[in-house]
Structures are given as structure tokens and as C-alpha cells.
Assembly symmetry: C3
Homo-oligomer: 374 residues x 3
Amino acid sequence: MTDLTGEAALIDQHCHGVVTTDLDRLAFEALLTEATRATPDRSRFDSMLGLAVRRWCAPVLGLPAHVGPDEYLERRAALGWWEASARLLRAAGVTDWLVDAGFAPVALTGLPEVADLAGGTAHEIVRLETVAERVAGLAGSAEEFAADLETELHRAAAGAVGLKSVAAYRGGLDLPARPPSAAALSAAVGRWFAVGGRLTDPLVVGWLVHLGVRVGAEFGLPLQLHTGFGDDDLRLHHADPSLLTDFLAATRDSGVTVVLLHCWPFHRQAAYLAHVFGHVVVDVGLAVPHVGARSGAVLAELLELAPFGAVCFSSDGYGLPELHYLGAWLWRRELGRLLDAWIADDVLTCADAERLVAAVARDNALRTYSRVSE
Amino acid sequence: MTDLTGEAALIDQHCHGVVTTDLDRLAFEALLTEATRATPDRSRFDSMLGLAVRRWCAPVLGLPAHVGPDEYLERRAALGWWEASARLLRAAGVTDWLVDAGFAPVALTGLPEVADLAGGTAHEIVRLETVAERVAGLAGSAEEFAADLETELHRAAAGAVGLKSVAAYRGGLDLPARPPSAAALSAAVGRWFAVGGRLTDPLVVGWLVHLGVRVGAEFGLPLQLHTGFGDDDLRLHHADPSLLTDFLAATRDSGVTVVLLHCWPFHRQAAYLAHVFGHVVVDVGLAVPHVGARSGAVLAELLELAPFGAVCFSSDGYGLPELHYLGAWLWRRELGRLLDAWIADDVLTCADAERLVAAVARDNALRTYSRVSE
Amino acid sequence: MTDLTGEAALIDQHCHGVVTTDLDRLAFEALLTEATRATPDRSRFDSMLGLAVRRWCAPVLGLPAHVGPDEYLERRAALGWWEASARLLRAAGVTDWLVDAGFAPVALTGLPEVADLAGGTAHEIVRLETVAERVAGLAGSAEEFAADLETELHRAAAGAVGLKSVAAYRGGLDLPARPPSAAALSAAVGRWFAVGGRLTDPLVVGWLVHLGVRVGAEFGLPLQLHTGFGDDDLRLHHADPSLLTDFLAATRDSGVTVVLLHCWPFHRQAAYLAHVFGHVVVDVGLAVPHVGARSGAVLAELLELAPFGAVCFSSDGYGLPELHYLGAWLWRRELGRLLDAWIADDVLTCADAERLVAAVARDNALRTYSRVSE
């Protein structure tokens, strides 16, 4: 048996900041789930993720494995959020954190604090919808909106390593192959402005994603897309990455790499897209921490069809540094075991496995995010 | 290793009666499948379920494991249906049977016989469509139908522990977030009455399910929904529980727990819904007996994202007491093995595993079905 | 432990010819993927299929297991394509090859060469769309097209063992339950002829598939349908076999067996269809070579609900004889291991396992393809 993954220096291609306060049990549990409401009769610790926190995060905080939730949270509070976060983030073994700071219904650390806490480098991922909504709040007309957004995205892209869209949450992934006409866009923006609120108009979202492709091509940035499960603001079947086929076929020559994030339970579908489209990259972030000890099964399903050169690592850690840590730890543990088993079964050689680990841990991300360099 | 599940007293949250006659091979095989027609060149024993009957039911009837189908059926006939059923149902270790008696193309035992055969308690689940069709047969107008059905459902709910809809079979699970207007309902019922027959109009079905929510809230009853595979009267992709998202979002404050039954092959999707909606409960009944020795894999996939407080046990046994028994036995065997493996792998503690088993075997059902009490 | 599958003489119910030239690395890699374009920064050997070629095909060509791609291709070139193909095809242990010769963007061996190379019998599968497009190129009107196609299909069917449609690639599997009217067909064919090119009009494709059913019934031929993944000319969610439900319900009394090919990642859905429809047969060809060492997991998922009498073997080998060989070898290795594990776990007997192997290797195909005889 080998230790293939234990020392791999990871690039986390998609995560968020952590909360900047100490958390009581209610607040901690609220971040231990994709549900947006409390479930008083169901502790969120009673889940694969909850078991994983008690089993693998507790020792990082100096506790015995499997301590109860209250004991875990007492220790966490005694250390303070800063120290607890620093220990967990540093234990992840990640050198580069690609941070989407565009979603913060609760206050999270920004990029400098992530870097400081984790002892690594933080890079920015620009969330298109956040920029679009900010610009919309200031624009007087559809034309002004489109022009201002383009300007603002250029500005943002100049300092970022990648772009991201949550179109999956804003009407779903059935994105058009081509952007709408200026007239159609203008009418749709007009309708949106008339009612205000979140950007959910599918035509405007489709236009925004294509704008992201254009800006990404100019700046050499990939475009990340949320796919698969997430919080309850999602219709899961509209987040099936298969729906992206026409969009992917249309953007294959754009020069932009499209990153399918998370994907579960459609990770086999995502693997197929990465198989047939050379500009598609996939991960199973978010899923890995959530499914805990089942990550190995999910990774194995992903690898069935995904080219090894198209798989990246991410944690999608959000709010709790436990998620960042477990994303990395479970990836190491479960991918390592899977490869060890395949080596023992003579399916591949140690050298093959080492190359696969290097590719997924780091090399594929370096190729995808050209601004993140060794 | 532990014996976590062997002695758990189960609540079977969804099953049906058993047939009240001795069965020849043709009749037995017809109930050993979800197909509604015979397949002369394919014995239904040549399946994971068929293997499971020969392997695990045979000993309950005093036969060696793996006996051939004919020997099995001879012994079954020699015992007589009553004795064979009693042995199998009692061996299931179920204290409470929640029986949907609303679907009986063949004559099945009613609740008293189930209780008598099984030595447990039988509780009624009211199938909305069955009541609606019975009331429709007597009603003179759409208005009379709506009023009579409400009266009838109140009467039925008073004696039941839960309600159930088979909307998945009647147009699919893309249920509306809100019930139709009285005028739209009246027109749709009018159209239905004009042609007669089964209730399949999606507008009427949507209204009926919302009526079920309202009545369920009044009486403190959960609403069970068939999801996933079933007989050939189904379009499988219309039975994907993801389609329920808008309906679930709209009913989260209704006070009614929604139970997603069966779910396979969409059990990961169902687990997601139970994860993000606190009023959603799931099981993989029907799948467990059918997939036989593969139940462990299905249960593991379910547990990836489902909160442990949201998973219940059911067999969906129908017609053959073998299905009730295998539902329970395979659940014990396979969940026990899965947890034993996780304990051996230090993923969770024995105490964690015991609490999980207690939750799924019984506690979650007791919380969901408040009228079923210890 | 047993050796259940090692000696089974297989019928490959669906494959294609092999390329008739020596291949450099670029050309070989182009056939080692379903992608239609090169991916310069991702070697196609870095995949489960690539590992499988190096691990299991290399020894067939007299090389050590796990040799590097260049060494493998040097040896292959030294042997020459004919000798390399002959070794791989003969090592597959297939007696009968059912060859779809209707798709050849690159030059492939025809049936006589396949038989000659493999030392077995080659049988023809007629691809409906290929015939339709050939006839369309010669027809002067919609009426002439329909009449000529019927004549041509009769002629082709007389020499074939089965028909096949790639409707999944031509608008998707949501096929109509009934063929269109003559007037609707005529209008649709007129529209097609006006623009020319590939047949993709869903109405014409639907008509063609129903014509296939009619001709298949006359000649006692089954109808194969591509389902699930394939090359990038596919929208994966339109290739979900669940979409076929109405078509399958409508054709259950046609006398024609419908063969669902490939199916991954919808193989559980396909298994359900084979479970409820007695005229449906399934395989996981194409997936087996591509997912390599993961084939056992895919086969296990397929067997959850598929009647053992409804599963066939195929490789879907195309271009590279490595795919034909790996389809057979991985099927032997992984199904054998799965059954060995189940025997060791006392889930079934050796005799049960042997019957299952015989059914899937050969007996089910002999029943499906009545013109292929022992």
C-alpha cells in the first residue's frame, strides 16, 4: 500500500470564506447543512457530514475522535473562531484557495483573512450574478446596465483568476447556445427593472453567462458553473449539467474552460461532458464533505468516464472551516484508498496513480487557472 | 462487530395486504414483479428478488436455503397461504404495519387480517385517488364532488394514521405549488366526468393532493407520495421526486410531513429533498426487497445526503408476504453490515450506529405518524 | 471461488468493424474516446479505458502489463493492424459478432473481414437512419421516399439479424406511441428534402422507428436502440431510456423485441424498463470498456432490477479491436468477480450463477436474435 494523497499540496478551485464569530450549536448546525431553515427535531450532526466533523475535525482541534457535538463546540469556542479556523484551514494542506466572495448572507472572511488564516494564497472568483445585481441597482436603463456591467466585469476580471455563474439557481442550466439579440435583452432587462429584485430572468441570465464567456476569453479566465445539489433555492432537475450540452457545444471554440462544480448526483453526467468536450473540467466539491465516508464511492463514479486530465479538487467550503478541511481530508483519504485498492488489484501502477493524484490535486487546476502559478 | 439491527422492532411505514389464496407458480411469479403481464420465457425467479426469496424466505418456511421455485411453492401450498403468511410476517419483526388498502386489483387481506397474521398492529393509510374515484362515481356535479370528497376524506382521516397519493401514476410529480381555482377545478372535473374512468387529469390530481395537505394538517397526518419505480403504468422520469420541489417549498409551513416512498433510482435526489426540506421524510421500500443483496448499496446512497432523522423503514410489501419479510430482513442484514463496516473503519461509534438504527427503525416513524404510539 | 465466466462463449450483440490501417498515437487516441476532437493537453490514455488498454490488451499483444502508450503503439504497428486486430478479436472469446456497419466516418472492416479476423461469424445489424438517408438521396418525393424505403428495408432485413435506430442522436428518445399520419409524414419529409442533410426531423425519425417495428415484426428481427452516453452529437438527457415508456407500452404486442443498448448512466432506468416490459432487453456495452475496472459496479447496478433473462452482452467495439476485447474481458472479469462474491456470501448457488452467466453470455441473445443459431 502507498500513501499517494497524504502529502499532495492542493489547489482548492472553489470555496468561500468562513464566519467571523464564535458559533453556538444552533448557528453551527445552520451551516452544517444546505437547508436554509432549522429543523428542531433533526440534529444536523446526525448525517454523514456531522459524523465526519466529530470523527476527523475533532482531532484537529485537539479533541478525541467522535466527541459529542456539545463538547466539540465548547472546544471550538474556547479556541475562538480565529484559532479554530486557522487550525482547520492549515490542516487542509491547500496552497491556493480560489474564493467566491460573492455570496454572503452571513458575514464571511474576505480573501486577505482566508490567506492569513490558512497560510496560503487566496485568489478571487468573480460571481457574475452578484456583479450584475450590483450594477443593476445603479443603472438607469437597460442599455446603461449592459454597458456598465461590461465595464465592471472587465474591471473585476482584471484582478480575478476565474468567473462563476449560479445560473442553476436562476432558472436552471438550460442555457442558450447563443446570447439574445440586443432588442430581446433590452426588453428582458426592462421587465426585470420594472419588478426589481434578484436576477432570475432566464434571458438575462443567458446573456450574462455568454458575456462571462466573452470576458473570460479576453482575460484567459475559466467560467465556473454551479451544477447539481445546493441549497433549497434550487430545482435539482434544472441543475443537471446535461442541460448544458448546447451551451457547451457552442462554446467549445471560445477559448474558455467551463468548470462544472459539485455535480452530485449528476456527477456521471458531468463526467460524460468532460469526456466529450475538451474545454470542460469537473469536480465533486460540496459533495465530498457532505457525503463523508461515502466520498470514495462518489469519486469512483466520477472517474468512470471523466478524463483524469479534466478532474479538479475543490471543497466548496462555506462558512465553516470544517467544510474546507473535510473537503481536503476526505479527498485524500478516499481517493487514496480507491487508488490503493486499484494498485493492489493491479489495475494501474503506482506511477499511474501518482500522476493521477498530481493531476487532480494541482496540475489540472494550474492549467485551468493560468493566473494561479507555482 | 455488532448486531445492530437484528433485534430492532420495526415500524413498516408503507405496505399492503397479502393474497388470500394459495398460489400456483404462475400466480406467485405474477406478484414477484412490478410487470403486469406474464413473460413466459423469463422466470421471475431469475432476478435479485427471486434469489432472495429462495435464499431467505425458504428457511422461514422450514426449507433449506436456495431451494428451487417449485419446491418452494409446494411447501408454501402445503402450509397453506395463512400459515405461510403468518410465518413470514411474524419473522419480519414488525410491530406496526401502516397499510394502504386502496389498491387491490387482486383480493388482499384487510387490516384486521394483517394484524392477526402478523401478530402486530395494523394502521390505515388512506389513498386519496381511491377515495376520489369512489366519490366521483356517486357525485352529480363538480361542486357536489368537491364537497362530498372533502366530507369523505375527513371521515376517512379520522380513522387513519396517514394519507397517500399516487400522483406519480396520474400525470407525474410535477405538482403545482398551489391548488387550482374553483372555476378551473370545476371545468377539469367536468371534463373528467364527461369521459369517466380513472382520475388522471393533472389539474384535479393537483387539487386532490393539496386537499390532502389541508386535511393532513387538520388531523395531524403525514402525506405519503409514491416516487420512483413501480409498475408499468408509470413514466419513470415523471416519478422523479425532484419534480416536487415547488410543491415542497410551498407546503413547508403547512404542518404536514411529506413522505417520499420508494424513490429508486432517484433515492439520491430524494435524499437531497429530505436534506433541504425539514418536512420531508424518505424511504427505499419496494427497492429493498426487489434489489435483494444489492440493498446495502442503495441504502448507502440514500444515507449520503439524507439526514438520519429523515429516513424511515418500509417494505412496500404487496400481495406476497415474502416481500414484507424481505423488506425487513434485507434492511436488517444490509444496513447492519454497512454500519458494521463503518464502525470497523472508525467512521462512527457503536452508540452512533445504534442511534441511527433506532431512528430509522422506529423513532422517525413515531414522530411522523403521531397516531402510532408506543 | 469459481471460474464462472472465463470460458463462456459470447455473442456480442452490438459492435462495429475495426480500422484497416496502422494507427499513430493521435489516430489511436482519437478512437479511444467518444469525443470527436483532439484534446492536446489531455492524453486519452489517462482514463479508465486507457489504463485498461495498457493493463489488459498489452499482454494479448505479447507485451508486459502496464506498458506505456508509445511502447504499446510501437508493438501494435510492428504486428500490423491485421495481426493486432486478429489477436485481440480472437482473445475476446466471441463466437458471433452482430455488426452495425452503418456508421463509418472512418473506413472500417466490413462483415467478412470481421469474421475472418475474429475467427467467428459476423451478422448484420441494419441501421435504419443510414438506409433512410441513402434512399432519401435518390427519391424525388416524399411518397417515393416512403415507398422506396419500405422496399429497401425489406431487402436489407432479409439478410440481417436485427435492426437499429440512433433516434437518441436524432431528436432524442421521446418517440411517439404511434407513427404519424401519411399527410404529416409527407409534409415533414418535404421540409427535410427542402433543406437536405442528415435526418433529424423528429416526426420522420418517429415514423422510421415505427417502420422498423413493422418490418422487424415481419422478419422476426429485434430493434436495437442507442440509449445513454455516446459521442458529443448527443444531448445526454434526451437519451434517457425512460423517455421510451410510451413507445414501449405501444409496441409490447408488436412481436418485436426492443434492445436498449449501452444505457449508462441510465442503466438503472433501463433495467426498470426491462423489468416491466417483457419485450425489452438491455446491455451495458460501450460502458464496460470505457469504465474499465469500474464495470463491476455498473453491472451490479444493472442487475438490481433487470430480469436475468433480459440482459445481453455487447462490447459496442468501434474502430479499435481493443474495445471489442476489453468489452468481453472486463465483462468476464467483473461479472465473474461479482458472482464469486455473491456465492461466497451465500446469496446464490454456483448453479444459479452458472445459469445467469449462460443467459447473459449467450442464451438471451439466441432468443432475441432468432436468426443467430447455435
